[in-house]
Amino acid sequence: MKFTGRMWIFPDKNINTDQIFPGKYTYDPLTPEQMAEHALEDYLPSFAKEVQKGDILITGQNFGSGSSREQAVTCLKAAGVAAIVGVSFARIFYRNAINNAFPLIPCPEAAQYIFEHADVLKDEKITVNLIDGTIAIKDKTFNFPPLTGEALNIFKAGGLLEYTKKKLAQKK
């Protein structure tokens, strides 16, 4: 549970679920790969074409605000995004991420630092370690509280779907 990847730096506040995954697609039955084609479509139309597997997003305050649509998480994950380090995340988006075993790391210190030094850091790689709760970029390291308890169990199971599968199997 350690990722190193290129960064996409999005300091804007309140990037919402409509920008991440537009409402007009929410009731179309799409595969995760098809959802990935619309990732961040209303925020940065070129994103879905240019994103590479293992990329990490650095985001501003209240990322993922708005709708409960889980596709906002699924489309980013399917697009290959490995993790998001942000100032803060909206509640349902955060929950959906845990339930889909997609790492969101609220770490305002790291995010602010990257925003402030974006011109020198933009081509650097960032490393996120979920086990010891560290973020490393160039010569700087930041700490964040790692997941614990039931949230960690769901994450470890590979998401709520797998977690529930196991629980149901145990019952039988």
Partner: protein, 421 residues
């Protein structure tokens, strides 16, 4: 330890005596609400290896987000849901046309004080209007609850919002909650429960409370709640599907934050594009022409909302070239509105009446904006593209009265005070 309302409710449903803020507990809900997204949830449910739902009497499904279905894919979603409902013997299924899930859930007596309702829709906060904890969740969680009957919950800290005074004649619950969000911002209640307190709460009808709690989702709240009182009891009489006991917060409970709002000082406001906390008094807006008004949605599509608009539009015609979309929140509202002549007034004024459903609120079908258009809407969200088109479109949010006054003039206009005296 003194407890907040959400602590009290969680204590009641879990049996945990002293639920500590920040701790994670497992909760079996009184109801789990889903809508057209049930089609996707069924897929997830099956891939979990589940075959039977945990309790067919606790599952609530209403079709509202694409009604009537605009294309064959969405129609097929509905077919899939109907089939599942029959196979599983799901008791509470409301087919196309009955109304918007949140309105139907409350109106049909499913929501009672002291219960937990999970919903795979972000505006599940609405149900706090009746002293319940309405908590929004995602689709995988909904599938998991269908399968195992419970999900995890972090017990939130609570924010206390005290309301005092009286609303001026042309100020409505929507103006109050928009003013609050404008001050507290769109992440002002992130991960927190919001409780409405104060002497003024007794003057809020259930419809107005539903509007307020609905919009708590726009502060990113986990729940938004009024305490059950005589108003709640009157509404639930002959309606509540289950017996209930009022659950109230302890008087000396501690809140992470307390805010006070004086209703007398409030004025009609709108949320400007493209975020709900971008709030401005209408009086301070530059001249803003509108192309379309949306009257309806789970926020403001009830009888009193349509009635307020009708009072302004009675005997008048909306401005030529401007449209007014009328989407009653439920069939019951529509029928009542027909009986009272409200629908007649709205249609005579030039309103386009539609089937009770979400409609243009989410931009998936029906009434989408054209590039360059501006809308004034009684809904809860004004994100760019929310009404189906992002090219140069703008959505302003206001009360139903503001929507009516604005389509009459063709520009965003304060509701006339004299009409409501």
């Amino acid at each position: 330890m003194a407890q907040t309302l959400i602590q009290k409710i969680i204590s009641k449903v879990t049996g945990i005596k002293d639920p500590e803020e920040g701790s994670i507990v497992f909760v079996e809900p009184h109801r789990i609400l889903t809508h057209d997204n049930s089609a996707a949830i069924i897929g997830k449910f099956k891939s979990m290896g589940a075959t039977k739902v945990w309790d067919p009497e606790k599952i609530f499904i209403a079709l509202d987000h694409a009604v009537p279905p605009p294309d064959e894919k969405k129609a097929a979603n509905h077919t899939k849901i109907r089939k599942f409902v029959n196979e599983q013997g799901i008791k509470y299924f409301y087919d196309c046309g009955v109304g918007i899930c949140h309105q139907v859930l409350a109106q049909e007596g499913h929501v009672i004080p002291g219960v937990v309702i999970f919903g795979s829709d972000s505006h599940t906060t609405t149900h706090g209007a009746l002293g319940a904890a309405g908590i929004p969740i995602g689709r995988t969680e909904a599938a998991s609850i269908w399968a195992i009957g419970q999900t995890w919950l972090r017990i939130p800290e609570s924010i206390k919002i005290s309301l005092s005074g009286k609303m001026p004649a042309n100020v409505f619950a929507k103006d109050v909650i928009l003013t609050i969000i404008g001050q507290m911002r769109s992440d002002g209640a992130s991960y927190k429960a919001v409780e409405f307190h104060g002497a003024a709460t007794k003057d809020f009808s259930i419809s107005e409370r539903l509007t307020m709690c609905n919009m708590v989702a726009e502060m990113d709240g986990k729940a938004g709640m009024f305490q059950a009182d005589e108003v709640t009891e009157r509404y639930l009489k002959g309606r509540a599907l289950d017996l209930y006991q009022k659950v109230l917060p302890d008087k000396d409970a501690t809140y992470i934050k307390s805010e006070e709002f004086h209703l007398d000082e409030m004025v009609p406001v709108v949320a400007k594009p493209h975020n709900v906390d971008n709030v401005s008094p209408i009086a301070e807006l530059p001249d803003t022409e509108v192309d379309v008004g949306l009257l309806g949605t789970c926020t403001n599509g009830r009888l009193d909302d349509l009635a307020a608009a009708a009072r302004i539009l009675k005997g008048k015609k909306i401005k030529r070239g401007v449209r007014l979309l009328v989407y009653p929140a439920s069939q019951a509202v529509l029928l009542e509105g027909m009986k009272e002549g409200i629908i007649q007034t709205l249609v005579e004024a030039g309103g386009e009446l539609a089937v009770p459903a979400c409609g243009p609120c989410l931009g998936a079908y029906g009434g989408t904006l054209a590039p360059g258009e501006t809308a004034i809407s009684s809904a809860n969200r004004n994100f760019k593209g929310r009404m189906g088109c992002k090219e140069d479109t703008r959505i302003f949010l206001g009360s139903p009265a503001t929507v009516a006054a604005s389509v009459l003039e063709g520009r965003i206009t304060e509701p006339p005070k004299e009409v409501f005296k």
